[in-house]
């Protein structure tokens, strides 16, 4: 094959795969903004003839949607804070110290991945009802933290490992206490990566549906809310909901794109 032909084949493959990802998102956007008329139009058009902001507004005005969206964001934000607050210190310990039990802890973290974690929400309903966490954003956030914490720990471990120990030692030698050295040297350098890990925790929580549905009745996250009302919702509402779920993901993946590999590449060791 000539070099030119090879390039044509390569690029047509790349473009096809890009379309494979993007076209379905475009189509659900059409559905989301098309309203009732769009859903029933036959045959369908690929151009946004029916698209109006009004149909999206109607959906947002449906009772419960706004509240679910706020709840979902709240749960995701709590998850983000908790998983980072618990995971980052553990990651720092894994990265900086050789200590007895480090491997056991690593095993515990990795083990969570071999289990379908969300299913563990089943027995938690009982416990949560007893301690008053059932049907609260914090309760859902706790389960989601169990999902996101292993990532936060392993990702921050790889981040901290990427910051040379010598930098910290230099800070100590030149007058910093451990805490000062962490604040002045390690934290500023790890911050972008930690932010990416936090965003990723947000997405994990925002998207999780099983635990969120099982653990709530009235205070549902957007994902759980949509799942519950799915059966009795008209199609254009479903599409509007689906599109609303996707929107933050696109932005988030863009924001964390530099760290995707740090997250998966190293954390799979």
């Amino acid at each position: 094959m000539s070099v030119g032909l090879r390039r044509v084949v390569l690029w047509s493959g790349v473009v096809t795969l890009c379309l494979w990802v993007l076209v379905p998102i475009y189509l659900i956007a059409l559905g989301a903004f098309g309203g009732r008329a769009g859903v029933f139009r036959w045959p369908k058009s690929l151009l946004p003839w029916d698209a109006t902001l009004a149909s999206m507004q109607t959906f947002l005005a449906v009772e419960g949607v706004g509240r679910a969206a706020v709840n979902g964001a709240l749960v995701a934000a709590l998850t983000m804070l908790l998983s980072l607050a618990l995971g980052a210190p553990a990651g720092y310990a894994l990265a900086r110290y050789a200590f007895r039990g480090a491997n056991l802890f690593r095993l515990l973290v990795i083990l969570t991945r071999a289990f379908p974690l969300a299913i563990l929400a089943l027995p938690l309903t009982v416990t949560f009802i007893r301690v008053g966490l059932y049907d609260t954003p914090l309760g859902v956030a706790l389960v989601h933290t169990a999902l996101a914490l292993p990532f936060a720990a392993l990702v921050s471990a790889s981040l901290f490992m990427g910051i040379p120990r010598e930098l910290e030692e230099a800070a100590w030698v030149f007058g910093c206490s451990r805490l000062q050295a962490f604040r002045k040297v390690v934290l500023p350098l790890a911050l972008p990566g930690l932010a990416a890990a936090a965003i990723f925790a947000f997405v994990i929580s925002w998207n999780e549906v099983f635990a969120a549905s099982v653990l709530t009745v009235r205070n549902k996250t957007l994902t759980a809310y949509l799942l519950t009302v799915l059966a009795e919702s008209p199609l254009h509402y479903r599409f509007a909901g689906g599109f609303l779920l996707i929107l933050p993901s696109i932005v988030f993946i863009f924001a964390v794109r530099k760290y995707l590999f740090a997250m998966w590449g190293v954390s799979n060791k």
């Binding site: 040379p164 010598e166 930098l167 030692e169 230099a170 800070a171 100590w172 030698v173 030149f174 007058g175 910093c176 206490s177 000062q180 040297v185 500023p188 350098l189």
Partner: protein, 347 residues
């Protein structure tokens, strides 16, 4: 100002001994090089002095203070790290000012000291830049300036030049010597490069397997190594070691004769340049001849033992030739084959 005293310092990692009872006395203002191959314990010793590592046993004194239990920041030291450890998120100015700021120096004082240190290391034009925009050599200068800015009484350097390329290393070495001489700080300089140690230090401590083999002025070490290891480690090419039989206080081999200590066998340590090429003497079969510019380095065998000889560069010698060697008996270092330590020649 402050000297450094190390008192029976020991370091074990599990079963392995990294340092075996080190005693060392470094007077105020001295430049001491810790020289040895990798894994000899020199960096561990430096890190124990810095407080970055804890000794298993023994004590460290800086000046009159016992600092063994103190945190690094309480020891009043400055340090230059192997990979520079220049903070990437701070400008050069902030890097150099870091130690001063941590000591709570006033703004005017910080500015003055940073300006002085930057001037000294020729980095004034880069003060506003971030380290990512600097070359390796420039980062090295920043690291040294950061250490000197705090006017340390003790300066620790961990292989500071090892990451520079050969040419830059030579240049920095010369400059470092001038700059450090002005600073008056007691300096400990860890290196595995013998030329660096010889060129910079007032005294060199040669370390091997967690032990200080010998500590002395550079030239003294070169001429009178106390052990076979020191002779072999210092000098390029390293010292030759010929295992010879002794009979009645004399070694005799082919045309060569010299008074020697020992009763049965002795090792003669001979520097490559302490050998004269003559018409008679030890027969030497040249295997390889390498013209190195300043000398012609000949490698070959004497009585079946490897030997290197530095010949004058203008001599016409090629591989396969047989020469006769006359080592200078006065410069031979006699080494006991059992202890591998140098012994005095018998009268």
């Amino acid at each position: 100002m402050a000297g450094i005293r190390i008192d029976g310092v020991e370091k074990k990692f599990g079963q392995a001994t990294a340092l075996a009872r080190i005693d060392l006395d470094i007077p105020d203002g001295e430049f001491l090089a810790l020289l040895g191959p990798s894994g000899c314990g020199k960096t561990t010793l430096l890190r124990i002095i810095a407080g970055l590592e804890t000794a298993t046993a023994g004590q460290v004194f800086i000046g009159d203070r016992n600092v063994t239990e103190l945190q690094p920041r309480q020891r009043g030291i400055a340090m230059v790290f192997q990979n520079y450890a220049v903070f990437p998120h701070m400008t050069v100015f902030e890097n150099v000012a870091f130690g001063l700021r941590m000591r709570g120096a006033e703004d005017a004082e910080v500015k003055a000291q940073v300006a002085r240190a930057a001037e000294l290391l020729h980095i004034t034009p880069y003060l506003d830049r971030y380290p990512a925009k600097l070359s390796g050599g420039q980062r090295q200068r920043v690291a040294v300036a950061r250490a000197l800015a705090v006017r340390p009484s003790v300066l620790l350097m961990d292989e500071p030049l090892s990451n520079l390329d050969a040419l830059l290393r030579l240049e920095m070495r010369t400059e470092l010597k001038a700059v450090l001489a002005q600073s008056g700080a007691t300096t400990i300089y860890v290196t595995h490069d013998q030329t660096e140690a010889m060129g910079l230090a007032d005294r060199i401590a040669v370390m091997h397997k967690g032990v200080i083999e010998q500590i002395d002025r550079p030239q003294a070490l070169y001429e009178r190594p106390a052990t076979r290891f020191v002779g072999g480690f210092l000098g390029s090419p390293p010292m030759n070691f010929l295992d010879l039989p002794v009979r009645a206080g004399v070694v005799e081999l082919d045309g060569f004769r010299a008074a020697a200590p020992g009763t049965d066998r002795i090792i003669a340590g001979v520097r490559a340049e302490d050998v004269e090429i003559a018409d008679s003497g030890l027969p030497f079969d040249v295997r390889v001849a390498e013209p190195l510019g300043a000398m012609l380095l000949l490698s070959g065998a004497v009585a079946g033992q490897t030997m290197r000889v530095a010949a004058r560069p203008d001599m016409l010698i090629s591989a396969g030739q047989r020469l006769y060697l006359r080592p200078d008996p006065a410069r031979i270092v006699w080494i006991d084959p059992a202890t591998e330590r140098a012994v005095r020649a018998a009268a």
